[in-house]
């Protein structure tokens, strides 16, 4: 009887501790959501902060939707473009590095590890000048190429680790059957790597969606801007317009959150299988 009551006490204490931790981790998001339904006089004019306002308004959302809807679309184009480019580069490369023996494999994988370390601001600094010459500033193409720099090295490394675990005899059998290297890749390796590809795609999407450094340095805001950049410029121009800024922040968080919730299964699958090599 005694160990049982002790176990119950530990469980109760742990539940309370976990609850406290969650309050710390989630309160900022609660505050954003609440603030997005408040007027500016409630948020900034007031002398006290109210945890649950008595008056709620949708005006921030209607303003933001009419003024900032285009930026949400821009963010989507950037995120989807980053995902497509990352997969187009990383999937074939991972396949080659997993399946074939190159004399330079260790060197290539090593340079990808180093590429993951490089600070984005170092790249942005000189990329600005290169883009200036190539007329890639203020273009989706240029920004997407820059944004893929987060996910390309990660993608190749994760996919390669996953593909090293695939059963080699299945691919060999396809080759024996007369499939070309390309067909073996497209019809056998690709379908079997689906979960890892989804993991990398999600990562690339979130990176493209959340990027700020490259948008700040490679765009001047006159053509298009993603949501992250518009939150920043918005607070710069209307420095205390918190209600609308927070409604915009909700937009910035929402698609990424929905995507992650919807695809959580694939992330778990991709990561577990990826870490257990065949």
């Amino acid at each position: 009887m005694r160990p049982k009551t002790r176990r119950r006490l530990v469980a109760a204490a742990a539940s309370i501790a976990a609850l406290v931790a969650l309050v710390f981790l989630l309160f900022p998001l609660y505050a954003v959501l609440v603030a997005s339904f408040e007027t500016n006089s409630q948020l900034f004019g007031a002398s006290t902060y109210s945890f649950f306002p008595s008056v709620w308004t949708l005006s921030n959302y209607s303003t933001v939707l009419s003024q900032q809807g285009g930026h949400v679309v821009s963010s989507l184009i950037i995120a989807v473009g980053t995902t497509v480019l990352t997969l187009a580069i990383a999937v074939p490369a991972a396949h080659a590095l997993a399946r074939y023996r190159f004399r330079v494999t260790a060197l290539l994988v090593g340079s990808l590890l180093i590429a993951q370390i490089l600070p984005s601001i170092v790249i942005a600094n000189s990329m600005f000048l290169v883009y200036h010459r190539l007329h890639l500033l203020n273009s989706y193409t240029g920004l997407i190429i820059a944004d893929a720099s987060y996910a390309v090295p990660f993608g190749i490394l994760v996919l390669r680790a996953f593909m090293l675990g695939l059963p080699g005899d299945v691919i060999a059998a396809a080759r024996v059957d007369g499939a070309s290297e390309w067909q073996a890749f497209a019809r056998v390796v690709l379908p079997m790597s689906r979960s890892a590809i989804i993991t990398v795609a999600l990562f690339a999407f979130l990176n493209g969606w959340g990027d700020f450094i490259f948008a700040l340095t490679l765009l001047n805001g006159n053509t298009f801007e993603p949501v992250t950049l518009s939150i920043y410029t918005y607070l710069g121009e209307f420095s205390q317009n918190w209600g609308q800024a927070m409604a915009l922040a909700v937009f910035a968080v929402l698609p990424a959150a929905m995507l992650l919730i919807a695809a959580q299964r694939y992330i778990a699958a991709g990561l577990t299988v990826g870490s257990v090599k065949g």
Partner: protein
């Protein structure tokens, strides 16, 4: 699956099939092998190699707004480095980047490891709590910085309100208006952001500690503290090393949350190397000086490279199919 049953039948067929000249075939095969790598090679060259090399070249050039349109500018020797590093703002940004990184990693590890130990216990809310802990990860970093700017504002700020309600302070504090507090706020923001990463990795490491080993230690009379320090910690040490190296790599390049929270202010009291390099290049248009400071940041980040590669040594070797 249909593909898997097909090939077996044809093994004999292939042996009797027509044979292409072996040399021609192996050359073709090699070309196909490399073709898979071409996009990645071109990308690494364009997005990593060229910008890094060009950044180093720039750091030795006498740049001005007029030279932006040209790829080259007059040679400047070390003058960009001496000018930049003599500047007290840059010096304090370098020192601050170090202290910020060390403090962030320590706090993230302590909190992350405590939470990992917590989730390793059995309690009703465990799974629910563990999935929610990932949420701070979802946010774009700039948004995180902006949210914390809102929470820590002087007038009607949530943090001031909570502390006043709890009678910890009596007057609201201007967290983002005083240099010391602004640094602390930045640190809190970064810790909040990084704790989920530490928790998730350390939790999965704890899951791999064999229960029999802990049970054996308990039977031998080891208390909870001894079991933690003598059994658990030595076993998960490789993961701790990985977490610290990755954490270092993430933290030295922190940029977005500083811009979102303080923009490096007040009075440059929260400038890190990355944000000050940004200022030099994109606010002052001193591309050469910005590049010099970026090279310093690059060297600091690359300190982690040998360690990172060593930790991934299995990946480098890689088994072939």
């Amino acid at each position: 699956m249909s593909l898997m049953t097909g090939p077996r039948k044809n093994v004999t067929q292939r042996a009797a099939g027509p044979v292409i000249a072996p040399r021609h075939r192996s050359r073709l095969r090699r070309a196909v092998k490399w073709a898979f790598l071409v996009p990645a090679g071109a990308y690494v060259l364009f997005a990593f190699a060229i910008p890094i090399i060009y950044n180093i070249v720039l750091s030795f050039e006498q740049t001005s707004p007029a030279t932006i349109s040209h790829f080259t500018a007059p040679f400047a020797g070390l003058s960009n480095y001496t000018t930049t590093l003599k500047d007290p703002i840059a010096d304090s940004a370098i020192v601050r980047t170090f202290s910020f990184t060390v403090l962030s990693l320590l706090l993230q590890f302590l909190i992350g490891f405590s939470l990992a130990l917590l989730f390793n216990l059995r309690f009703p809310l465990r799974r629910f709590a563990r999935s929610l802990i990932l949420v701070p990860w979802l946010l774009p970093f700039l948004v995180t910085g902006t949210i914390f700017k809102f929470l820590f504002q002087l007038q009607a700020g949530a943090v001031n309100q909570i502390l006043i309600d709890l009678h910890i302070i009596h007057q609201p504090i201007g967290y983002l208006l005083s240099p010391g507090w602004a640094y602390v706020t930045l640190l809190i923001t970064n810790v909040w952001l990084g704790v989920p990463f530490f928790t998730v990795l350390l939790y999965s490491a704890l899951q791999d500690v064999p229960a029999e080993l802990l049970e054996a230690a308990r039977i031998d009379g080891a208390g909870p503290w001894q079991r933690l320090t003598r059994v658990t910690l030595p076993i998960i040490r490789p993961v701790i090393e990985v977490v610290f190296v990755l954490g270092f790599v993430f933290t030295v390049k922190v940029f977005d949350i500083v811009i979102g929270l303080t923009q490096g202010g007040p009075a440059n009291s929260t400038q890190l190397i990355a944000t000050w390099a940004y200022n030099l290049t994109f606010q002052n248009f001193e591309f050469g000086q910005g590049a010099a400071l970026n090279t310093v940041l690059l060297l600091i980040a690359l300190v982690a490279a040998p360690l990172y590669i060593w930790l991934n040594r299995e990946t480098l070797r890689g088994e072939y199919l």
